[in-house]
């Protein structure tokens, strides 16, 4: 397996990488958002006069003096309506105004001078209170059942099983807290718009801006190669982006709007609250015979996204009878949106906890129960998995981690003041191969430029471009320049659904092959070519023929051709004959202080079956990063909604806890590296989301093994262990 340093390492460690907010076009003005202080109601009026009189203020936009934005026409993971177009408030912290001033300080302080009068209504802000009135999602499938012949209901199958358990698992709202707050810098030259904005795919804001500004996509150029983390919250295009672009157009000068951290919590969406009631029924030998999961997700009134949180229960373990249902509780809270492994991360917490509870009831080792129910085909469709080595993940992991040392009796292993427990869980995430187009340019300086409107959110995607192109072209990796995050380049796969490398990887290889062919053809046909008329081949970065060889750069220079440019498109995989998923196994050791109840993760191993790993160095980091976020989910993260006001009560980085360095133990990552040749020649599936799935379940299982306490409500804080 290759292990290559990130190609963007030098610019990232020297501060030279320019993120969205780092741009300063000539004549820049500063935007500052005004956000609502009620969660539901109508804005009666806004007194903007003091702000308009404040030094440096250029404009104050509100619903009463709006920038005209057209309705969005396509669904997105963000809000359904553009900001400021009416006087309704549907959540606390909604954008209700924009101040533009000469400096940031002036804009910020002027925004604080605006007073707003509301006709406030009582918000629907309690998930628990909304549960009795949960409704099937509009446009979604409310229930899915798979029943064995002769079985009439899932409950019948459960009743007929030798052993069964039923428990309810709940997870709080969470939020991404990508380190880079959202920012948009917009400048117009005539009727052409240039935008720097953090996005998981630069074509996404182009679409939104086309709709809302009423201009052609061809007039919009989004350039943003460096993104300070996404995790789902830079997929949707949020209110500040069209607003800033419209302000720049109205004022005839560039405008930069950077969200404050507090604004990021509400202007940008969050992961919904979920509840799952899981029943598992098994034969005495551990074979699952019934899996039932009734899942409920919160959903914002401002958009349609919710988590189909129970669905993972249909895919992970084989069972003759399966049932899941989906319901939503609509709340007057900021947009609900995708966050790393949407639905599956919460879904796995419930399923993986329930598997351990079933193992307990059966008197079986939890690892043996999982081995028993490993399935060679998708439990619902019956399609065989394209490539699945989950059993090997379990066995390799158990051996390497020392699983045999786990005490089957909880609460019996101690080390001084600490109760020690081991836990494990299955990691998994769906895989696909989307369509992707990539351009390769071979230049007369011997370099290759590989471009596509993909995004590197810290994933290592740009380095993957360089590695794969270099390999096909037979040149060193550092002679390849990857160009990502530019909407003017071909439509490569965006960074979402763990589908970047699986789609863009094959496209990079195709385009590089095509570039080789193009330079061979040029060598054989160009009138000034020394290879003219020869049988020309290409190897190791050189064109060869008639016993001679020349690096492609030299040849191009000789011919006076500055570059050879080709674009290739790798098609979407139809996925008709196989099911596709990545798999893995988590093993962890958790220590719980016997006096304070404080849980600490002491050790972690994740064994990964995700197909070909293109760059083991960055892949290991990405898997570890997912585990870190999973530890946060398990032990810390909890976005609190005040039931009376609908306000997030802990919307700062000091109050919404995410892991810090000292919370994280060494994380061991092992890749099996079996190419998934059904998915593509490259054989890479995807790893962005895989390792957060199962992580919280593994922690919960280890906490139970340490203490005998089963916590079914995340996060597992010390008060629940006392």
């Amino acid at each position: 397996m290759r292990s290559v340093n990130r190609e963007d390492g030098p610019v990232k460690v020297t501060g030279a990488a320019r993120y969205a907010a780092d741009h300063h076009p000539e004549g820049l003005a500063y935007g500052y958002l005004i956000t609502s202080t009620v969660a539901r109601g109508t804005i009666l009026g806004m007194d903007t006069a003091p702000a308009e009189r404040a030094p440096g203020v250029i404009a104050v936009y509100t619903p009463f003096n709006p920038l005209r934005l057209h309705p969005y026409t396509q669904a997105d993971t963000a809000e359904l309506l553009p900001p400021l177009q009416d006087d309704r408030v549907c959540y606390y912290g909604q954008v209700i105004g924009l101040v533009v001033a000469e400096t940031f300080e002036q804009a910020r302080d002027a925004a604080a001078l605006v007073t707003t009068r509301y006709d406030a209504e009582r918000p629907r802000a309690s998930f628990t209170a909304g549960l009795p009135n949960a409704t099937p999602p509009s446009g979604g499938t409310p229930e899915t059942d798979v029943l064995a012949p002769g079985v009439t209901s899932i409950d019948e199958a459960l009743a007929a099983s030798d052993v069964s358990i039923t428990e309810t698992y709940t997870t709080p709202a969470e939020t991404h807290v990508a380190m880079e707050p959202h920012a948009t810098v917009a400048s117009w030259t005539g009727d052409r718009l240039t935008v720097h904005t953090a996005s998981q795919g630069v074509r996404l804001p182009v679409e939104r801006l086309t709709e809302s500004l009423g201009i052609d996509a061809a007039q919009i150029h989004v350039i943003n190669p460096y993104v300070g983390g996404g995790f789902g919250n830079k997929w949707g295009t949020w209110a500040h982006t069209p607003l800033t672009a419209a302000a720049a157009r109205a004022l005839g000068r560039p405008v930069k709007t950077v969200l404050t951290r507090e604004q990021v919590f509400t202007v940008i969406g969050h992961r919904p609250i979920t509840s799952q009631t899981v029943s598992l029924g098994a034969a005495a030998d551990g074979t699952l015979v019934a899996v039932k999961n009734d899942g409920i997700s919160s959903k914002s009134a401002a958009n349609d996204f919710y988590e189909s949180v129970a669905d993972l229960s249909l895919a992970l373990y084989g069972s003759a009878n399966l049932h899941v249902s989906r319901k939503v509780v609509t709340m007057d809270v900021p947009a609900t949106t995708i966050m790393r492994a949407p639905a599956e991360s919460n879904g796995s917490f419930a399923l993986e906890s329930a598997m351990d509870e079933l193992a307990d009831a059966l008197g079986m080792d939890p690892l043996d129960l999982r081995l028993k129910n490993d399935t060679p085909s998708h439990p619902v469709s019956g399609l065989p998995w394209s490539s699945k080595h989950l059993e090997e993940c379990y066995r390799v992991g158990a051996e390497r981690f020392g699983w045999s040392r786990r005490s089957p009796r909880p609460g019996t292993v101690t080390d001084g003041d600490w109760l020690v427990g081991l836990g494990m869980a299955t990691a998994t995430f769906g895989a696909s191969r989307g369509e992707a187009s990539i351009e390769v340019r071979l230049r007369d300086d011997g370099r290759a430029v590989v471009s596509g409107a993909a995004a590197d959110l810290g994933t290592g995607q740009s380095t993957v471009f360089a590695i794969l192109a270099a390999e096909v072209l037979g040149i060193p990796v550092d002679r390849v320049t990857p160009v990502l995050g530019d909407s003017a380049t071909p439509p490569a796969a965006k960074a979402g659904g763990s589908g970047s490398t699986s789609a863009n990887g094959p496209a990079v290889r195709l385009a590089a092959e095509a570039a080789k062919e193009a330079v061979v053809k040029l060598a054989a046909e160009h009138e000034k070519s020394p290879f003219r008329g020869e049988a020309v081949t290409y190897a190791d970065g050189e064109v060869r023929g008639g016993g001679d060889a020349m690096p492609f750069g030299e040849l191009l220079a000789l011919l006076g051709v500055p570059e050879v440019e080709v674009t290739a498109t790798s098609p979407r995989h139809p996925r008709r004959e196989h099911a596709f998923r990545s798999f893995g196994a988590h093993f962890c050791e958790v220590r719980v202080n016997r006096w304070t109840g404080e849980p600490r993760v002491a050790r972690w191993l994740c064994v990964v079956d995700a197909g070909t790993i293109v760059n083991v160095k960055t892949a290991r980091s990405q898997i570890a990063g997912g585990v870190v976020m999973g530890i946060g989910q398990a032990l810390l993260e909890d976005l609190r909604i005040e039931p009376d006001t609908g306000r997030f009560g802990n919307a700062t980085m000091a109050d919404y806890l995410v892991p810090v360095n000292t919370d994280i133990p060494p994380i061991d990552v092992e890749f099996l590296n079996y190419p998934d040749t059904v998915l593509s020649d490259l054989g890479a599936r995807g790893i962005g989301e895989l390792s957060i799935v199962g992580a919280a379940g593994a922690v919960a299982n280890a906490v139970h093994n340490a203490t005998g306490r089963r916590v079914r409500d995340l996060p597992i804080t010390l008060d629940k262990l006392l």
């Binding site: 390492g9 460690v13 300080e105 990508a178 880079e180 810290g458 290991r620 990063g625």
Partner: protein, 169 residues
Amino acid sequence: MEHGDPSLRSSSESAANRLVEVTCTVNGTARSLRVDPRATLLDTLRERLELTGTKKGCDRGQCGACTVHVDGRRVLSCLTMVATLDGREVTTIEGLAEGDRLHPVQRAFIDQDGFQCGFCTSGQIMSAVALLREGHASTDGEIREAMSGNICRCGAYPNIVEAVKQARS
């Protein structure tokens, strides 16, 4: 219902009209600035001096992304008013390498893959440089504790510890 903070009104109006003279050194270069008294060192670096390597993650002293050195000590530039820096020496991430020669900590972050998105990285590196100088990096536990003021949401923590250890040796 009425919202807005009236106490901010008078202060903002008067403050905005008064500028403060500050002379300080930034990455070895003397700078004389007339600054808004409300301006933080962070915003001044980023918006006035175009030294955008220092990042704003929270603007409230909660994340560490804005860490720089003032007179060799690590400070949070979002909590440092630039008006207080007369005669002081500021070093940012841009002032660490000598020409093309990376500082050993920068080199170690690349070698150990001590970052993913890179947004927290300037702050992590400035903290790491200072804690090595302070001698607070003798054990893994000490490094993890001393680096815990710098949040990395990408979760590069184990590699950051390895990078600090590489730079230490």
